[in-house]
Amino acid sequence: MTELSRKSYDRGHQPTWCTGCGDYGVLRAVQEALAALAIPPHLVAAVSGIGCSGRISGYLNAYTFHSAHGRALPVAEGIKRHNPELTVLALGGDGDGFAIGLGHTLHAARRNQDITYITMTNYLYGLTKGQLSPVSPQGFKARGTPHPSSHAGLNQALLLLATGAGFVAQASSGRLLELIELIRQGIAYPGFAYINVFSPCVTFNQVHTYAWANENLHTATHDSTDLTAAMVRVNESQGLLTGVLYRKQ
């Protein structure tokens, strides 16, 4: 068998994403993590939702399913339940997983199938040209919405911690090595694993940029086996932490 490398998981199509999009980093990191774990591509099923991030499944060389908006997780769970031998990934954006698909996100986490769920968070809807997302912070002004957001932004990691998910991590698309390692750990984790990636939209979001991520995201230093500590820190930091936030022992 030939050695598996990142290329083994590359379908060879040029992504439609804008130059500099954070999703390139996520695609690369998923491919590197799968290679590091030496999982043959035909034993990988990747399901994505809708939006710019939803295109990611088409670029992965694996069994890939580009589902409907917000529905990546139930499709992924059905695949995993029928064939537990497969490594199953679900991928989508912050709108996909926390607006239209929020119910599925919370319930998939509590049903705890061995799935790795990766969200690419850019704080807005990119494909529809810049509307508010459910994680857009209060006061955030999006191009497609006339007034700054009057709604509180969701704290994704805190929600996932509350579901009882056994592995919750966050990373920045701009820090590739850390991202690869977290995705590797998430896939290797025997249960539902959630990895939220801060993945800048270079076209519509002038606030949550790579520079913003470098300045505002801090490495988690709490005991990641302590759920209470994780919830306190994720709450205090408004979710702006990277690393493994919680890992059930």
């Binding site: 035909h42 034993l43 694996a62 589902s67 529905r71």
Partner: protein, 540 residues
């Protein structure tokens, strides 16, 4: 012989359990039985009744008037007093204080239960009285009573058997003995099953190995039955019907033979997933038990008003086949066809039933299912895990490279090819009951029971047809049939003529269609259908 025993009372008081026991006992005694439950959308209280029709040949419809009405409590009497005819016999609990007459007997069901065991067993006392009335041996009821209550322990069973005995002793002067069932009937291997049970059993026989669902009347029983028989983790109760259909899509994509069962409100939510399954060429069977709508409507009442939704099937040109069985037997014969079509044409298939079909139990001859064609159709379907065959599926229009395309020519070519995967007509698309050429009665689903009983009153004059496939609509096959008849009477168990509209959209002879509607939550009755037939024939 054609008797109807109606047990009418208050929900949660035992009327439904006793109805089930009586139906089972009469079925076991060799009669053909049809048992229709009418219950309220609440846990306790409110009207609940169980109508048991007994005949010496297959029977699939209620009767307008019960031959025997058994009532305990105001909920039952206030609703069903009006269903009594001059020839009906009424057995009423003394608490109702009905004036005794040649037809009406006031019997102390409640007091007898209190004396024999406990007041909660009053319907068992009534069961005993009915058993004596019909000439059933005590043992014929003792066995199903003990079986139905087996999970409640010896003490409860003993108390109920005392109540049953006391019921038998209650009215020795009342006798309405049933003629014995014909010897041939008694010896036949027959089963008493509901449509919901038939769906679940047929699904398992077809090789169904995955389901996901959300509780909803009248489909909950299908999920519960499958959950009892599938391995843990293969029947998943989800957060909503959207997740249910999508999870089944995922499982099917991975190689499962998947089915979801729901009812109108759930079908509304599943429509998105049906579109996804159609676009991604994922086989899936969606069973819909129609009930009163729109919105929550009357959730425990019968209706056939999801035809338009099922046929439209979603935004865009979703062309998912729609099967429409009209008997428990056709559930066993046509669910395999639905699974087969799903695999063969790589498509979601809607299996459209109704509340009457799903919940009523009927005596039937067992139908054997051969799952070989389904397995053969699955052969060659590439599923995840096979080396070197990786591919991409998408709700987006894919082009020749396997990635989303918006190129006009590619879209048109690819989508035409998708639509052509489903043939323009399927086999066994209707059931025809040949009777005569003056009138053709057209109905679907459980309405068939009333129609078959009604057309028997017009020998040589009236035929009936029950479409089994509504999409692709069997235009050619039905056209040949329609030309043989002068007029068509369409029975729509909905308010807007959804079945009529389908026929009108396929056949130009609009003046030959006459339609009747019913949407009060009750199914069409044989006498009612016979009246409509007589009206149409008289106007000719």
């Amino acid at each position: 012989m054609h008797y109807c025993i109606k047990l009418s009372g208050t929900q949660g008081d035992g009327v439904d359990t006793v109805g089930e026991i009586l139906a089972l006992a009469l079925h076991a005694a060799g009669y053909w039985v049809y048992a229709y439950r009418n219950f309220s959308s609440r846990i306790r209280g409110g009207y609940s009744s169980h109508e048991i029709v007994i005949a010496d040949s297959p029977v699939r419809a209620k009767k307008q008037h019960p031959d025997v009405l058994v009532c305990i409590g105001e909920d039952g009497w206030s609703r069903d007093a009006q269903t009594v005819s001059d020839s009906s016999l009424v057995l009423a609990d003394t608490s109702l204080h009905l004036a005794a007459s040649a037809q009406c007997f006031s019997l102390p069901f409640t007091d007898t239960a209190r004396a024999a065991s406990q007041v909660q067993h009053k319907w068992i006392v009534a069961l005993g009285a009915v058993g004596a009335l019909l000439g059933l041996a005590e043992s014929e009821l003792e066995v199903p009573v003990a079986a139905a209550l087996a999970h409640k322990g010896e003490g409860i069973i003993a108390g109920n058997l005392r109540a049953l005995k006391a019921g038998y002793a209650l009215a020795p002067h009342l006798v309405l003995p049933l003629p014995p069932p014909s010897q041939g009937t008694r010896l036949e291997a027959r089963r008493l099953v509901s449509g919901g049970q038939a769906v679940a059993e047929a699904a398992l026989a077809c090789g169904c190995d995955f389901t996901a669902g959300y509780p909803i009347s009248p489909a909950t029983g299908v999920f519960e039955h499958l959950a009892r028989h599938l391995p843990v983790g293969r029947a998943v109760q989800t957060e909503d019907e959207i997740a249910a259909v999508d999870m089944a899509i995922g499982a099917s994509y991975a190689g499962a033979t998947a089915l979801v069962a729901t009812s109108g409100p759930g079908l509304s939510l599943m429509i998105e997933g049906i579109g996804l399954a159609f676009a991604t060429k994922t086989p899936l069977v969606i069973v819909n038990g129609q009930r009163s709508g729109p919105s929550t409507g009357m959730p425990t009442k019968h209706e056939q008003s999801d035809l338009a939704l099922a046929l439209a099937g979603g935004h865009g040109d979703v062309s998912a086949p729609v099967f429409c069985p009209s008997s428990v037997e056709e559930i066993y014969t046509d669910l395999p066809s639905a699974f087969h079509a799903a695999e063969l044409y790589r498509t979601p298939v809607i299996f459209l039933t109704d509340l009457g079909l799903m919940l009523a139990r009927a005596s039937m001859h067992p139908v054997t299912i051969d799952a070989t064609p389904i397995r053969n159709a699955k052969e060659g379907r590439v599923i995840p895990g096979i080396s070197g065959k990786m591919f991409h599926v998408s709700g987006n229009q894919l082009g020749s490279t396997g990635l989303p395309t918006e190129m006009p020519a590619q879209r048109q070519a690819q989508f035409s090819a998708r639509l052509k995967m489903i043939p323009s007509e399927l086999l066994s698309s209707f059931t025809y009951i040949e009777g005569g050429e003056e009138l053709l009665v057209i109905a679907i689903g459980s309405t068939r029971g009333a129609v078959e009983a009604a057309v028997a009153n017009f020998p040589g004059r009236v035929s009936a047809v029950f479409p089994r496939v509504l999409k692709p609509f069997p235009t050619k096959a039905l056209a040949a049939l329609l030309t043989r008849h002068k007029k068509y009477l369409i029975l729509d168990a909905n308010a807007t003529g959804q079945l009529l509209q389908i026929f009108r959209s396929h056949f130009a002879c609009h003046e030959r269609f006459v339609s009747r509607f019913r949407y009060d939550g009750e199914p069409f009755m044989p006498a009612e259908v016979a009246k409509y037939i007589a009206e149409v024939l008289a106007n000719d």
